[in-house]
Amino acid sequence: MVKREEIVHAANLIRIDLEDHAKYIEQIEKILNYFDILDEASGESEVIVQEASLEKLRDDKHIPYDEELIKQLKNYKGTFVKAPKMI
């Protein structure tokens, strides 16, 4: 059984403030309880990892970024981005 504090902790980790979202905690709890059905599934099978062929990689050529992409930034000067304080 999942504890509510653990859901709130996960939300905090991805910086989602649950203050206004008590309803979500209840819904997520219900969904996670449903996910417990996975406990019944046999766990013998191996995980098949999707493999991409290394032969198909594109040429190792430098492709300069487009100025159009920089223009998507909200706060920038030249190639500097303005971001909130880390500490």
Binding site: A10, R15, Q27, I28, L32, Y34, L38, D39, S45
Partner: protein, 481 residues
């Protein structure tokens, strides 16, 4: 002029001069203006569509080379990048995002002189099956506007069904092309994983999603697939199938084809009318010479939990990029500490995206990764194995596309789990990578029912041939709007 024609008929009639590309586009835009108020298929429109069609007519008149679409009006789901046009993902977070490049699928369509009518509505970031989770408000089902059109590519299916374009591109992560195709009585295809490039499709769950066509007929679907499929250096997961013409030999029929009826998708939980339509479809296929028998895929019962665990985990990672520094809207960083700033920005995600981000943080977290995420990966492998085994005995598999009929707007919006469970018939194709198609089969009390066929990996040709055969047994009316 009849806007309800197929892509094939459009091409014939432009070629023989019945109408010009400009006339058809102008009429399409007029139609959009007329019906949008009731159905809301589009988030934004291409204001240059008519002048672009004019250019096609000029080239045709001057006998210059023109691409195979001849100015055909095609709508694009608003999570697929279109250069110079807004691409919002139906989210407040990307409300003003103008894509700086075309997705490969859009580039391919434009290269063949298709004209984009506009960007269609979806559940925010393609998370949902009713289009009710769009920041811009729900789309409505053209068969009855009190009902949902399905989702997440709801706007795309509505635009095709309500004659606001000839065909559309959607994206299918757990059924998001097939579900609205079924609810709106149009054809929707989820191609084999890797057959179509995902470059420029805004990421939600990379290991399962594919772009797919929505159209009025199976032939039109094959026509669009010809244009959008193929290897792409921008997407290393694309597979090289060489040049295949999916419109060829569509009438090959199903004689001698072995079709497996998936027990777990046709029994308990399926609406009576949907079950009856499915039985009728199976009988029709049998009368055309197919050999149909039951097949059990044991792991289907775990597929919803498996799918949502994997999709939420990938979504949590993909949506972490929305920090309001690279994308987002204007509020200054001054006075904010990093975490507070980002969490303020993320308040702008809608309810379903918020739920899936939290789930996506939870299921792969240190204490729970074994119980949920690793277990889901193992079950996914098991599902793939069961599908491989099934295709040793069968050429195709069949089920209803959605276990129930379209439901009323607002009916299930506060019960996310009940919505998730409706994906049970579609997600197996995403988890295993196989192609699947929804074909309109019946109208029951004014609401559409779609039948789903699956084929083995990269067997689109077999799939489309069977879908074509089934389609030919129907004679359905157009949407009443």
């Amino acid at each position: 002029m009849n806007l309800g024609i197929t892509a094939t008929q459009y091409l014939e009639q432009v070629k023989n001069g019945s109408f010009t590309a400009e006339e058809f586009m102008a009429k399409t835009m007029e139609r959009i203006r007329k019906v949008e108020g009731s159905i809301h298929a589009y988030i934004s429109l291409n204001d240059d569509a008519i002048s672009q069609a004019k250019q096609i007519d000029k080239k045709l008149k001057a006998k210059e080379k023109v691409g195979s679409c001849l100015g055909m009006p095609i709508s694009i789901k608003d999570n697929i990048c279109t250069k110079g046009m807004k691409t919002t993902c139906a989210s407040k977070m990307l409300e003003n995002f103008v894509a700086p490049y075309d997705a490969t699928v859009v580039f391919n369509l434009k290269s063949q002189d298709a004209i984009i009518t506009g960007k269609t509505n979806l559940d925010e970031f393609a998370m949902g099956i009713s289009t009710e989770f769009s920041y811009f408000g729900p789309s409505r089902n053209p068969w009855n506007i009190d009902y949902v059109p399905g989702g997440s590519s709801g706007g795309s299916a509505v635009s095709v069904s309500a004659l606001e374009c000839i065909a559309s591109l959607g994206s299918d992560t757990g059924g998001s092309v097939r579900n609205p195709a079924s609810f709106c009585s149009v054809v929707g295809l989820k191609p084999t994983y890797g057959l179509v490039s995902r470059y420029g499709l805004i990421s939600y769950a990379n290991s399962i999603e594919q772009v797919g066509p929505i159209a009025r007929t199976v032939e039109d679907t094959a026509f669009i697939l010809n244009i959008i499929s193929g290897i792409d250096s921008h997407d290393n997961t694309t597979i090289d199938k060489g040049k295949v013409d999916y419109t060829k030999e569509l009438d090959a029929g199903v004689k001698g084809k072995r079709i497996g009826i998936i027990s777990e998708m046709t029994g308990i939980g399926v609406d009576k009318q949907v079950a009856s339509a499915t039985s009728k479809a199976i009988s029709k296929l049998q009368s055309l010479g197919a050999e149909c028998s039951e097949v059990s895929l044991d792991s289907v019962k775990y597929s919803v939990a498996t799918y949502y665990t994997i999709a939420a985990t990938e979504a949590g990672s993909n949506l972490a990029r929305y920090d309001n520094i690279r994308y987002g809207f204007d509020f200054d960083v001054e006075g904010f500490e990093f975490n507070a700033y980002i969490s303020k920005a993320r308040k702008n995600f809608g309810p379903e995206v918020t739920r899936r981000m939290i789930l996506g943080a939870f299921v792969p977290s240190a204490g729970y990764v074994g119980k949920y995420f690793y277990k889901a990966l193992k079950v996914r492998s098991k599902i793939k194995y069961e599908i491989e085994e099934a295709f040793k005995k069968f050429d195709l598999l069949i089920s209803p596309t959605v276990p129930i009929l379209p439901f009323k707007i607002g009916e299930k919006i506060d019960d996310p789990l009940s919505l998730y469970l409706l994906d049970i018939n579609t997600i197996v194709a995403n988890l295993s990578g196989i192609p699947a198609i929804s074909i309109p089969y019946e109208i029951s009390h004014g609401l559409p029912i779609g039948i789903q066929l699956f084929a083995d990996l990269a067997k689109e040709q077999t799939l489309l041939q069977a879908a074509y055969a089934l389609e030919k047994t129907t004679n359905l009316p157009g949407a009443p709007i």
